[in-house]
Amino acid sequence: MGELAQNLIFGFSVAATPQNLLFCLIGALLGTLVGVLPGLGPVATIAMLLPVTFTLPPVAALIMLAGLYYGAQYGGSTTAILVNIPGESSSVVTTLDGHAMARNGRAGSALAVAALGSFFAGCVATAIVAVFSQPLVRVAGSFQSPDYFGLLVFGMVAAVVLAQGSVIRSVAMVVLGLFLGLIGTDIASGQTRFTLGISALADGVGFVPVAMGLFGIAEVIAALERGGARRQIIEKISRLWPTREEARRAWPAVLRGTGIGSLLGVLPGGGALISAFAAYVVEKKIAADPSRFGQGAIEGVAAPESANNAGAQTSFIPLLAMGIPPNPVLALMLGAMTIHGIVPGPKVMTERPDLFWGMIASMWLGNLMLIIINLPLIGIWVKFLQIPYRWLYTVILVFCCIGVFTVNNTTTDVLVMAAFGLFGYLLIKIRCEPAPLILGFILGPMLEENFRRSLIVSRGSWWVFLERPICAGFLALSLVFLLLVLLPGIRTGRETAFREE
């Protein structure tokens, strides 16, 4: 315990230098901005900022990028509540009850509960990252290839099961993503695979153009189709504080949301998005009167908004402890670390304690900044919401193009982004969720590598995946999850949870 306190004090001494505080603030401000602006998310923004981080000291760069990610969780709720569209994908469920509250003249309460819940969750999640990273690094030290394989499979299954949409179609999307992640040169044999003779693909398909095509570009097309210009903004915000009755209902939901988010953030495949979904479903399941949900139940704002912030922060644990990027944003963080010659994984804690503890301390400081940025200064962000979409989408498109280009300085990536924009639009049309594809894409190479190593160790026997208790446990758990969700009773519950849109 004394050691932890010492580490934290050291962390704060790193995070509280004027330079690092400044970059933490920049990250929090930018994060809130891209969270508020629909269609522009942390992935596009971090991709754009990646080249900037070349010139910064690594600690400052990572503090800023981390702040951007959890800052976006704060900003996203503002748009969800006031405009009824998610400013950030992890705020999708907040639109249901948050906007209903705003229509009933309770916008101020909803905004306050979302921000305060996020702040509480942020503080708890910071503590969890600080306390549990060290033991998890030790656990990860005992992990061998089959265990990593099992963990990755479990993460992907959990992500599919906990998210929205048809399970079978989502599993197929993960498989397709795993395949796309393998395009390019095979590390073990040096052979190029599935490049169709295009030399630019020898290094693989970049995940930034894929992610931004599927989410950024496809989403712009879909929003224009919906007639993005016609939307109603609720500008009148009465008192920015919940009533006593609302607070009484919100607190337990904040606690549950924080717990769910902290837990799901740690999974490979976890993070802000599925945490918010899962928290909403749980609230609705345990509510005495589920029919209030969708009509402006404050729990439906408190739980998912706490959960997405907690999940965003604890998703740093798998990256820092095991080197596994659990979602697209953290995959970009991994890229940013690699640029600076830092290999994410168990060694970061011992070799770069300044980075590790500095980043943790900055998370708490960042949350403190964010609560001020998002509550007293809410009026500024409402102004941004008044930018008409018919101007905004052009800006988003140009930023996406520049962002994708600057990562590798190649026009091929811009064209790949266009191709995946088309593919993403078609996926929306045939009701396939793109998120599982990206997850598979990120984890594909890691999954193959651990699969290969496992078979080398076992001399080709697949029994190795069942002989090691950790791996067998993860695989059994995956099977249970899949069976549970495919059995009729639970499936209907899962489908009705999101129906009142």
Binding site: P51, V52, T55, S166, I168, R169, V171, A172, V175, L176, L178, F179, L182, D186, A188, S189, Q191, R193, F194, L196, I217, I221, L224, E225, G228, A229, Y389, R390, W391, Y393, T394, V395, L397, V398, C400, C401, I402, F405, T406, N409, T411, V414, L415, A418, G421, L422, Y425, I428, K429, I430, R431, C432, E448, F451, R452, L455, I456, S458, R459, G460
Partner: protein
């Protein structure tokens, strides 16, 4: 009868199934030439082969399931935003390659602007000028990224 057939063609599982089965078959076909290796030392074709079989299998299952699943696709394609948004991204890439950042932004804005029917030329001119200026200011002057601004 005709309507019945039309409805069947709008089942989401059918289209998703065809997509996944087709892509799975494609993976197996293109990957047929890659070495599978031996079980203890798998080759570059091993995991893609597994994934191809899995994807094709899931696709076939979805095609079969579409006989009694009811979720519908959205058959309307918004051609105007689709063509203009993708066109503007492609134009950005090609014009950047040929000249540089500023013309690429102008070209992208000029095309993307008309994806929303209510936008006029004036919007494109103002947005294009603003975006080109701020991109130059931010990325080239401010962050000194090595981007070609305007060559030739």
């Amino acid at each position: 009868m005709l309507e019945e057939g039309g409805r069947r063609l709008q089942r989401a599982d059918l289209w998703a199934g065809l997509l996944f089965a087709g892509l799975g078959a494609l993976i197996l076909w293109v990957g047929a030439g890659y070495s599978l290796g031996v079980p203890s030392r798998i080759g570059p074709g091993y995991v893609p082969r597994l994934l191809g079989i899995l994807l094709a299998g899931l696709g076939l299952f979805l095609i079969m399931r579409s006989a009694w699943s009811s979720e519908r696709i959205d058959p309307v394609i918004a051609w105007r935003p689709l063509a203009l948004v993708l066109g503007s991204v492609v134009a950005f890439g090609l014009v950047f390659e040929a000249t540089g950042l500023v013309p690429a932004i102008l070209a992208a804005v000029a095309i993307a602007n008309f994806a929303a029917p209510e936008n006029r030329w004036t919007t494109a001119v103002v947005l294009g000028a603003l975006l080109a200026f701020f991109a130059w200011l931010l990325f080239v002057k401010g962050l000194s990224l090595p981007l070609v601004v305007w060559s030739k």
